[in-house]
């Protein structure tokens, strides 16, 4: 009895590649649950009458219901239940910060470990895909209204799926040659296999969503032109926070200094990690990544897999303030990423040919809390030191892509360059133009962008009725 009770409070572990093995490949790190493991974990769920976990989910996944399906061994039904509210469950199961959304609210978490909602979501979506059980839900009859969506990242894909189900004629415009936005150019294969993103996008296409690749809205056509000349009834802008920030320190433009966007795009989208790819990437022996978020972890771990002997994170605050998910930091540490905390770059040094050779940093100490509530890092005088390196990756964030704001004169933009949109409706200052995701919030998470896509979908349905 006691043993049973104890088991209820312990999460079923997901098996994963050992650190030593995985640093030598780009394959996904966790293997996913087996059917037995999934059922075992699903049975831990208390099936609360008033599930708090759902409140924590930006896209309101019917968590107890889909988990019940898994517990009953109805895996296809679990996936269908997920897809009622979430168009990209295989993605969310992998990259959502469940520990601060649904799982943190789980009642079991009060006395033990919460139900592994993310692992179960991943299991159901993977099971459906791997067993070719993907079914298309009944779509509402076509209503003859045309909606254009700018950007095929998480926000755009979500609203596209929602509106297609509602009977809209949906077209997504993607600037790159592949759809998925940050899911394909940013998040590495070992965290989110691209085959899965492709399948989730195929699913949307089966719902009737048209995706036009190689189309830059703002250049090929402005939003006004899409609405007036191509007769779109509504436009959703989900163009993301695609402009990398740099530190403005000397030496930042030397060869071997990359924005995380560039480094990850070369490796992920352009497949520079493969031998037959034509896009080059500098395979540094000693790689310094500046920043403490998930993107920094992704970059540092990519560097290891590209053959770095030292992959070093440089972050100006302490580990407690790192914005990266705990699980990502844990994975990074296991793999041997070196953490230089409380230190900040001041200059990048190069050889005579302009290749980066070292980064000069200064030690920091934590002072009084700043506006963000985190203790402000203050430089320690005279503590500068050099870290030898041949690649530097700047992963300190992105600002909104200005292309749409610059070519849409009557859309309201904040002083940070984000598009102003109502959080509850996604409506912008321009009639029948909606926005969501990083272009509104500044760089945030996949699931928040998806939540925004969902909210905007409701408004489109309401406004175009």
């Amino acid at each position: 009895m006691t043993e049973n009770k104890n088991e209820r409070f312990i999460k079923t572990k997901m098996k994963e590649q050992s650190p030593a093995a995985r640093v030598g490949n780009f394959n996904e790190v966790p293997f996913g649950y087996t059917e037995d493991e999934a059922r075992k974990e699903a049975k831990r769920c208390l099936q609360c009458k008033k599930p708090l976990c759902v409140e924590g989910c930006p896209v309101e996944v019917k968590i107890p219901e889909f988990i019940k399906c898994i517990a009953d061994g109805e895996f296809a039904a679990a996936a269908r239940k997920l897809k009622e509210t979430n168009a990209l469950p295989a993605v969310c199961g992998r990259v959502c910060p469940q520990e601060e959304q649904c799982e943190i609210k789980c009642v079991l978490g009060k006395k033990g470990e919460p139900v592994a909602v993310g692992n179960l979501e991943r299991f159901a979506a993977d099971w459906e895909r791997e067993n070719s059980q993907i079914s298309i839900p009944t779509l509402k009859p076509k209503n003859g209204k045309k909606v254009g969506i700018v950007g095929s990242g998480p926000a755009g894909l979500t609203i596209a799926g929602e509106l297609a189900k509602e009977g809209f004629d949906v077209t997504v415009f993607e600037a790159l040659h592949e759809a998925g936005g940050v899911l394909v150019y940013g998040i590495p294969e070992f965290r989110l296999p691209k085959e899965i993103v492709k399948k989730e996008i195929n699913y949307l296409e089966k719902l009737g969503v048209k995706i036009i690749r190689n189309y830059v809205v703002g250049k090929a056509a402005t939003i006004d032109e899409l609405m007036n000349e191509e007769k779109y009834d509504a436009i959703f802008v989900g163009s993301g926070a695609g402009l990398p920030s740099f530190m403005n320190i000397p030496g930042e433009n030397f060869i071997g200094v990359y924005s995380a966007n560039e480094y990850l795009t070369r490796s992920n989208l352009m497949k520079a990690y493969k031998d037959d790819a034509l896009t080059p990437i500098i395979r540094g022996k000693s790689v310094v990544t500046v920043g403490g978020g998930n993107v920094a972890m992704d970059s540092a771990r990519t560097a290891l897999r590209l053959g770095a002997e030292h992959s070093i994170i440089v972050y100006r605050r302490s580990e407690a303030e790192m914005p990266a998910r705990k699980a990502e930091v844990h994975h990074a540490k296991e793999e041997g990423i070196e953490f230089n905390l409380l230190c900040n770059p001041v200059e990048i040094l190069s050889d005579e040919k302009g290749f980066a050779r070292a980064i000069r940093c200064i030690r920091m100490e934590l002072g009084e809390p700043d506006a963000s509530g985190r203790r402000r890092p203050v430089p320690v005088k005279g503590s500068e030191y050099e870290i030898p390196c041949d690649v530097v990756i700047i992963a300190i964030g992105n600002s909104p892509n200005p292309l749409i704001p610059n070519t849409t004169p009557d859309i309201e933009v904040s002083k940070w360059g984000t598009i102003v949109a109502d959080e509850k409706t996604g409506r912008t200052s321009k009639k029948q133009v909606y926005a969501g995701g990083d272009i509104v919030t500044g760089a945030a998470t996949v699931i928040l962008a998806m939540g925004a896509g969902k909210v905007a979908a409701r408004s489109v349905v309401e406004d175009l009725r």
Binding site: L243, I255, N261
Partner: protein, 278 residues
């Protein structure tokens, strides 16, 4: 989709493709570029639009084979299609009636200069055009350039055609003759632009240069194409590709262009080995 309507070889390493691209042909303005991919493993290659016809729905690109990406592109035939084509990208050239303009093009840089020359002409400017190449066989667009210019001078480094020497020498001679200019645009290899714009700027001429740094997405997302202009970091894909030449950090541009030189020569070698079955 994006079929190659016409393929010409302008010189041993330089090719001109006419591509079916009605949307881009309609929208493009002088100074803008496209990005293309010719194969699944291929790079994204940024190329300035060298010509276009909105009515007939085509654009032209002119490119020189430098790495494996451009080599594979050059191996496409008339009737083949590009895998991906996106554009127009970048800011168009700022065109107005400046008065007396000097347009200087070197090597394959003559290609992007051509639509700018046409646009400046149409805006009513008096145009002096200098084009140059290492030798006569590498010289492109001579007739087209001549037809759009009021004064036209050719130079070759080896003296095999036109003036014997660099385009910068020709410019110096014009200044020595007492010629005055109100606006200059210079496009060519980085070193040529560095030297030539140094002279035009010294002579008090407002000068723009069109830069061709390494680029991936072309929408500002990667920052790979960053250049330093007047001490500030700019992204050539969205802030350019044309910049006030008086503020460009040429040394840095030249270095960054060589980032992958080793990789490029190695991948070209590998490709040659495969072709020859070695």
């Amino acid at each position: 989709m994006n079929t190659i309507l016409k393929r010409e070889q302008l010189s041993p390493q330089v090719f001109r493709f006419r591509i079916d691209a009605p949307k881009i042909a309609q929208k493009r303005k002088a100074g803008q570029f496209i990005i293309l991919r010719s194969s699944e493993e291929g790079e994204r290659l940024p190329l300035t639009i060298a010509n276009g016809n909105a009515k007939e729905g085509w654009i032209e690109i002119i490119f020189q084979v430098v790495g494996l990406g451009t080599r594979l592109l050059s191996e496409l035939k008339q009737g083949d299609s590009l895998l991906d084509l996106v554009g127009p990208l970048g800011k168009p050239t700022h065109v107005e009636n400046f008065g007396r303009c000097i347009c200087i093009g070197g090597g394959v840089g003559i290609a992007p200069l051509y639509p700018i020359v046409c646009a400046l002409k149409e805006a009513g400017n008096n145009l002096t055009t200098i084009i140059g190449a290492r030798n006569k066989s590498l010289l492109i667009l001579e007739n087209e350039m001549k037809a759009s210019s009021d004064q036209f001078i050719v130079a070759t480094d080896d003296g095999s055609y036109g003036h014997h020497g660099f385009v910068s020498d020709v410019f110096n001679n014009l200044i020595a003759e007492g010629k005055k200019f109100d606006f200059a645009i210079v496009i060519g290899p980085a070193i040529m632009m560095k030297v030539t714009t140094g002279l035009t700027v010294k002579n008090g001429i407002k000068t723009f240069a069109s830069l061709n740094p390494i680029m991936i997405d072309g929408t500002g997302m990667c920052g790979g194409c960053r250049v330093t202009v007047h001490g500030e970091t700019k992204f050539a894909c969205v802030d350019g590709p044309e910049f006030d030449a008086s503020g460009i950090d040429w040394g840095l541009l030249v270095k960054r262009l060589d980032s992958y030189k080793l990789f490029e020569s190695e991948s070209l070698k590998k490709h040659a080995c495969r072709l020859e079955g070695k």
